[in-house]
């Protein structure tokens, strides 16, 4: 690299201050911050709903809320966490880091970037407002299966509108990320020199382009079935409710990978840094990511083995699902091989990254158990499924987001976070999350169904344990919010290259990163890429 010239924003027009600054910003770093703050707020809102769920399930019997409201909580918790917390967090991280990682000056479409973000608060105000409507919030589960989802009140129209807005926001974000990565790379930043986080986001953006319109189509058909007398999913009118499930899961399964591929990218950045070694098997990581993305399109019906489909179909979807373990295994072994004989240190981002590898793998293995058709007939719609996807999404996606936040916070704020508090947050979260979700495997295997406010007394003990873990995990995240606030307000000055083993263009700019970076493109060669062995 020969030129990392940084330009201050002196030559730019005076920027608006206060609220106008955030409303009209087209800067990728500021929009990244908006996404991350929004995500943290939604994480707290969705977390509060989870607390209500776990409080109700603390004991058998109906204690705190009526069953209809309980169902609204399970539905809204999922919608808020998926579309409000996890996806915006990854988009925020992409906004902040992708242009800096590829040596670009900003996102390719800055004004559309602003619009992508500002659709989200409106979408979630609309979604959350349904809680205060006479018919209440949606209560049919986040999958919105008909005919149940069509039997609620008129808040349904608001839900559909909110989902459309979220989809438009995601699609515009994905178009922006693809246009940026394909068009704004610095000279020398060839595709196979891109950091893994950029690669995983490029593939994720293509997944978003492919499946968000599928969700939009599905919910548009629900809307016309509800209000315009069509019968897409109404058997009485010649429609087919099972078709909705096929269309929904054709979106829904790639959606799972949309929430985990960027996490793989973050972990692939962090582990080499703290192992002080090149990433083992960079090219195989790229191909494994692409393979997972491809396979995600041909496994959707494993979510609906029990609807009654031909044996050939069940076998196909079972084996296709199991094949995903191959590229995923490649990734896990590559992370372990990267750590092997590395000069490892265990700062908070690395602790979260290691926990990710271990705990996400547990979620992967329970996924394999669910892929087995005859076993799935036992596990389907039980707490085993709930345990499985929370290991994937909480100890997978959310832990990776937290690892990324600790990793890049000094670059964003210019201050080191409180390492002692970070470690407390890690251990507290890791212990609590296992107390919360591991017993749910037992409950599911013993036959406890999901989405119920009351249960048989034989499930009482593990539900109580799970709820205690839930409250502890929720409390730990308030500590996380405090650590972030504390870091933004001050702390030890962070150097440009915050971590000794860090490689990549983002570490060549000062901390905090100036508003405008790489107005003049840097020249990139192997010396700045994380996956070439520069430390040997």
């Amino acid at each position: 690299m020969t030129d990392t010239t940084l330009h201050t924003d002196e030559h730019h027009h005076a920027r608006p201050k206060g609220l106008a600054r955030w409303l009209f910003t087209t800067n990728h770093k500021e929009i990244g911050t908006l996404y991350l703050v929004f995500s943290l707020m939604m994480f707290i809102v969705g977390g509060a709903m989870a607390m209500i769920i776990r409080a109700e399930l603390f004991q058998p019997g109906l204690q705190l809320v009526d069953p209809e409201f309980f169902n609204q909580m399970t539905t809204m918790h999922a919608l808020v966490m998926i579309f409000g917390a996890v996806m915006p967090a990854f988009v925020g991280l992409a906004n902040w880091m992708v242009p800096m990682m590829i040596g670009g000056p900003d996102m390719a479409l800055p004004r559309m970037n602003n619009w992508s973000f500002w659709l989200l608060p409106f979408a979630f105000v609309i979604l959350l407002s349904t809680l205060f409507m006479p018919s209440g919030a949606p209560a049919s589960g986040w999958t919105l299966y008909p005919p149940l989802s069509l039997q609620g009140g008129n808040s349904f129209a608001f839900v559909i509108f909110a989902i459309h807005l979220m989809g438009i926001s995601s699609i515009m974000g994905a178009i922006n990320i693809i246009a940026t990565i394909l068009n704004l790379r610095a000279p020398g930043m060839t595709l196979l020199r891109m950091p893994l986080f950029v690669w995983t986001w490029l593939i994720t953006a293509f997944l978003l382009i492919a499946v968000m319109p599928v969700l939009a189509g599905a919910v548009t058909m629900l809307l016309t079935d509800r209000y315009f007398d069509t019968s897409f999913f109404n058997a009485a009118g010649g429609g087919d409710p099972v078709m909705y499930q096929h269309i929904f899961w054709f979106f829904g399964h790639p959606e799972v990978y949309i929430m985990i591929l960027p996490a793989f990218g973050i972990i692939s950045e962090i582990i080499p840094t703290f192992a002080r070694k090149r990433l083992f098997g960079y090219t195989s990581m790229v191909y494994a990511t692409a393979s997972i993305a491809f396979l995600s399109f041909i496994v959707w019906a494993h979510h609906m083995f029990t609807v009654g489909m031909p044996l050939g179909g069940e076998l196909f979807f079972m084996y296709a699902t199991m094949v995903i373990a191959v590229p995923t295994g490649i990734k896990v072994f590559n992370w372990i091989s990267t750590m092997w004989r590395g000069s490892m240190t265990f700062e908070t981002p690395m602790l979260f990254a290691i926990a990710f590898v271990v705990l996400f793998t547990i979620g992967g293995f329970s996924g394999l158990m669910l892929a087995i058709v005859p076993a799935d007939f036992q596990y389907h719609d039980t707490y085993f499924v709930v345990a499985h996807f929370h290991y994937v999404l909480v100890t997978g996606a959310v832990f990776a987001i937290m690892a990324g936040a600790y990793y890049w916070l000094p670059k964003w704020t210019g201050h080191m976070y409180d390492e002692r508090l970070g470690k407390i947050h890690f251990w507290w979260s890791t212990i609590a999350v296992n107390v919360l979700f591991f017993p749910q495997h037992y409950l599911g295997l013993a036959g406890m169904p999901r989405r119920i406010p009351d249960y048989s007394v034989q499930f009482a003990d593990w539900n109580m344990v799970s709820s205690i873990g839930g409250f502890a995990f929720g409390l730990a995240q308030l500590l996380f919010a405090w650590i972030v606030i504390k870091c933004v307000r001050g702390g030890e000055q962070a150097p440009a290259r915050v971590w000794e083993g860090a490689r990549g263009l983002e570490w060549t700019v000062p901390s905090p990163a100036p508003l405008h970076t790489f107005d003049e493109p840097p020249q990139v060669d192997d010396s700045v890429t994380a996956h070439k062995d520069q430390l040997a």
Binding site: P105, I175, P213
Partner: protein, 45 residues
């Protein structure tokens, strides 16, 4: 300056055309998929 992935924004018309083409291609794909799946619904299950 020639970029590995094209040109810098505002450098020249070719670069702008390239970004525009990327956006149009992706937006068109989105629209086709949206309409295609609703058409699948119209055709019936």
């Amino acid at each position: 300056m020639r970029m590995s992935g094209g040109h810098r924004p505002d450098d020249d018309a070719r670069h702008r055309r390239r970004i525009r083409a990327t956006v149009l291609l992706l937006a068109g794909t989105v629209l086709l998929i949206y309409i295609g799946f609703i058409a699948r619904g119209v055709l019936g299950g």
